[in-house]
């Protein structure tokens, strides 16, 4: 059945002075209804709506608004029998209005800023608290090895470690090649192209391998942790775990932390190899440094401490990524939007924290002369 109804219309009945409505007063004709009512003559004493073909709640709403504008009581309206139930139902609830909310532009903005600062403060406290909780639970696990979840840990190692190898390798290889190109362009002016070997090797061993890996895992793994745990949280699975007498930290967080603690250093090592390979590829094809020369120069000039400095940061980044990812997941509140917000927050926090800590550690190592 298509809507072939007559549009709404009104006319003044000359005999009675009443306003006579006709046609279909429904949502489809909202604009015409509004216009017709605005154009209604002044001094209407009553409204006859008996002959209206169709009336829906938007029609009633507009008529009630018209009535209150003109100061007409509902007793001056007459409706068709079929429409009375609707009018009464709407009349019954008409007086209930939501409380007015007060909003002030500048003050609201200041309040938002205040809330944001306070939220950040609370997040930092929560993270430190969560770190403490995890350390305690880790110590307890060492004392009671049966708490260790081997299957789950191995599963997460595969997810965050093995499955990330191609990506980490490819990105590190490319960055290594780019650094070799950039370095060679500048070093060539000094006739010191061969120093490209030290540049790429030191950069990758000390900084880039671990930083790149951490950033890739922050995007790939922290977000996955938050989404997994967040979805569980929003479906009350975490509560179910608690009521079954298990500890969500033991069950969900520990395996993830341990999996990352094991795999991030391994991935970092792969990234180091890939970066150096990238540099060596550029060296072999465009800089006339054959791979043998690259390797022998690397062996004679690069000290092991660079490798150790780089690798020493990996466990720290692993803990940061795993803890923030899990903590944000545990803080999800019910809605689908909350999962999304928390995931974004987890990635932003981990990447920022990884870079900030890396900078601090670089300074520290340099001051200590390591």
């Amino acid at each position: 059945m298509r809507d072939e109804s007559r549009p709404p219309s009104l006319a003044t009945d000359d005999a009675t002075g009443h306003l006579r409505l006709a046609g279909s007063w429904t949502l489809v004709h909202a604009a015409q209804m509004g216009e017709a009512l605005r154009g209604a003559p002044e001094g209407v004493s009553a409204v006859d709506a008996d002959e209206v073909d169709r009336l829906d709640s938007s029609g009633v709403l507009l008529l009630l608004r018209f009535a209150s504008r003109r100061g007409l009581g509902l007793e001056h309206f007459s409706f068709h029998e079929d429409h009375r139930a609707l009018v009464e139902a709407i009349e019954d609830v008409a007086d209930d209005r939501p409380k007015k909310k007060r909003e002030y532009g500048v003050i609201a903005a200041l309040a938002r800023l205040g809330f944001a600062v306070h939220d950040n403060y609370r997040e930092i406290l929560a993270l430190i608290g969560f770190l403490g909780e995890n350390l305690v639970k880790f110590a307890r696990m060492l004392a009671q090895p049966r708490r260790f979840r081997l299957t789950s840990t191995v599963y997460h190692m595969e997810q965050v470690g093995l499955d990330a190898v191609p990506l980490v390798f490819l990105l590190s290889y490319l960055v290594g090649a780019v650094i070799a190109f950039l370095g060679a362009n500048i070093l060539r002016d000094f006739g010191a192209v061969i120093y490209v070997v030290e540049l790429v090797d030191v950069a990758f061993l000390r900084e880039f391998a671990v930083l790149l890996t951490a950033i890739i895992l922050a995007g790939r793994t922290a977000s996955a942790f938050t989404a997994q745990i967040g979805a569980m949280q929003s479906r009350e699975e975490i509560d179910a775990i608690r009521t079954l007498g298990m500890d969500p930290v033991d069950l969900l967080v520990m395996p993830r932390v341990i999996a990352l603690l094991v795999t991030l250093p391994l991935l970092t090592f792969i990234a180091m190899i890939a970066g150096v390979l990238g540099g060596a590829t550029v060296g072999a094809f465009t800089l006339d440094i054959p791979p043998q020369a690259w390797l022998s120069r690397m062996e004679s000039t690069i000290e092991v401490r660079h490798f150790l400095v780089g690798l020493s940061k990996a466990p720290i980044f692993a803990v940061i990524i795993a803890l923030i990812g899990c903590l944000e997941g545990l803080q999800v509140e019910g809605t689908a939007q909350s999962v999304g917000e928390r995931t974004t927050s987890a990635v932003v926090q981990t990447i920022s924290l990884v870079i900030v800590l890396d900078a601090i550690m670089a300074l520290w190592f340099m001051q200590m002369g390591i």
Partner: protein
Amino acid sequence: MTIRDDDIAIRIEGLENRFGEQVVHENLDLSVRRGEIIGVVGGSGAGKSVLMRSILGLRRPDAGRIEVLGADARSEDEADRQHIERNTGVLFQDGALFSSLTVGENVQVPLKEQHPELPDSLRYELALLKVKLAGLPADAIEKLPSQLSGGMRKRAGLARALALDPPLLFLDEPTAGLDPIGAAAFDELILTLQRALGLTVFLITHDLDTLYAICDRVAVLADKRVVVNAPIEEVERFDHPWVQQYFHGPRARAARQAGTGTAA
């Protein structure tokens, strides 16, 4: 598009739905009259929800004809689809409210989509009206779905389903998960709205109380089709093992007494 019978809101003929090897509906016929509340019952997995999804066009059936308010539900034609969308309201099981929007914004979504020309103030007023008609306090309009109880979420879902004043309303287990008092109040609400707005209601339920209290007719889904579609007194007497078990179990007896008690 032809109008064959103005009294029939939904007409289904020879419907067939299959998931791979598994046949859910076969040769299913059902007609829903205008202005009635039809209760659809059936065991778990009998295909109640699949039937509703087929009628709404959310699922393309494998065979058969479905006519909703005179339009072919299987039609690809934009105008037919829009005709059905504008004239049907659906309350999903848990309300299916958009969790990032307030109740008021949820109700305004269909209004914005289908009637973008409405001024903001009128749209707000309409949303407020629907929220109140669904039995929520006016203050609820500013709340997020997560701040509401299960019963209130259903009412908010109902308000959204009613946003466009659709003549046809689909309810998927409206009283599931409500306490008996809340469920009875919801039944009452559906009945009141049905009378006030002149709705045709397609109601999927397990709730015997709802069947006895508000349904004009009851359709029983079993053996992949509608085995009986009649007023409840007739359905009770219908000779089919599932029907007999359903309507003559211990729970049914209590519901029947309560239902006839309120009806009298």
